[in-house]
Amino acid sequence: MAKQDNAVDLVGLLAAEKQDLAASWVREVQESLGRRVGAAELDRELRELYEALVEALRQGAQDVHAEQMSEVRALLTELSRNRARQGFSPSETAISVFALKTVLEPALRDGSADTVRAYLQLGRILDGLGLFTIETYTQTRDELITAQAEQLLELSTPVVRLWDGVIAVPLVGTLDSARTQVVMEKLLQALVDTGSEQAIIDITGVPAVDTQVAQHLLKTIVAARLMGAECTVSGISPQIAQTIVALGIEFDGIVTKASLADALKLALRRSGVDMVAHAGVQR
């Protein structure tokens, strides 16, 4: 029966001045968050959380992971996810829980030993809930970062159409296996979609070409060739050219050009397009 009594104490502590407590909790949190969360929204969030917490304690929940706490956990998860997305810091997120401890403090002043015991026990539960909030917050942040990294992977490899039948991929940054896979897939798909027979891979923005990058490039070019397209690699700077020679990488049978402009000229010639400079045009 001791357990039941405990639960009664905890609920008693929280439910005694119900409206009052919930209201001061909202006020406390509102002060620390400033005006960045709407007053009505915060009020709704915290009151729901408060109801759920009282209910969970009434059912005898002992800690965060108790089955009775599932409603509280769900609400807290939603709260920390929202805070993480809105760019609040971990402390600002956890304060929503810890503020309740501050609000309960006045009850201790004229409370019995039982009240103090109940407060301490509730404090432990709230600490657990606070940690849970931070964990969820971090998890949400990690998910955001992963999603952004994936978006970056997509963004950084645009395939552009330079002319009828001529497409180009400007590569920027480090080429690792994951990115090369994306580049290769996009290039090959673009060859099909646009019906192009000329592809230019521009590596002006790639700071260093080591054997792994070279191998990825070679594989992409061979794959494009199997689809009946001709590939040109452009944007090879003097220092990269010398490094490739020293490394001993052979680009046999692969056409390379110093600049994208040269590569485009070649691709146009190959597809039978003549460029004519008109006499009399001011240059």
Partner: protein, 140 residues
Amino acid sequence: MTAPWAAGDDPQVYSVARSADVVQIRQVIRALAQQCRLSLVDQTKMITAASELARNTLTYGGGGTVSAGVVSDASKRGVAAVFEDSGPGIADVDQAMTDGWTSGGGLGLGLSGARRLVDDFRLHTVPGEGTTVTIIKWAR
């Protein structure tokens, strides 16, 4: 084998455990090479060599560490990097240094190519214990 560091030139140690670490090594070497005023060509060569060796440490050595720093001689300064792993080691060094030979799926040019890219190249390996490669590029 003696470390290339002189007194007062303590190197920074970086761990190589994921492929993202190889990118970090490249950036560290680039910063050091710029600090030593290596020419653009020499910078690129040193960065590429470091990239090859760091990837070897990761792929064949199962991860390890890289110590990188500035070294100085009587008359010149340079960038040095020591790649250490405690992987399976290299059974036949001559074979491993042959162009085009690979025990993995690469081009087989990383180790031999790296030697051509730098000024000093020392390889120390004990089968079953690990491999240490030291490279230095001097500023001209």
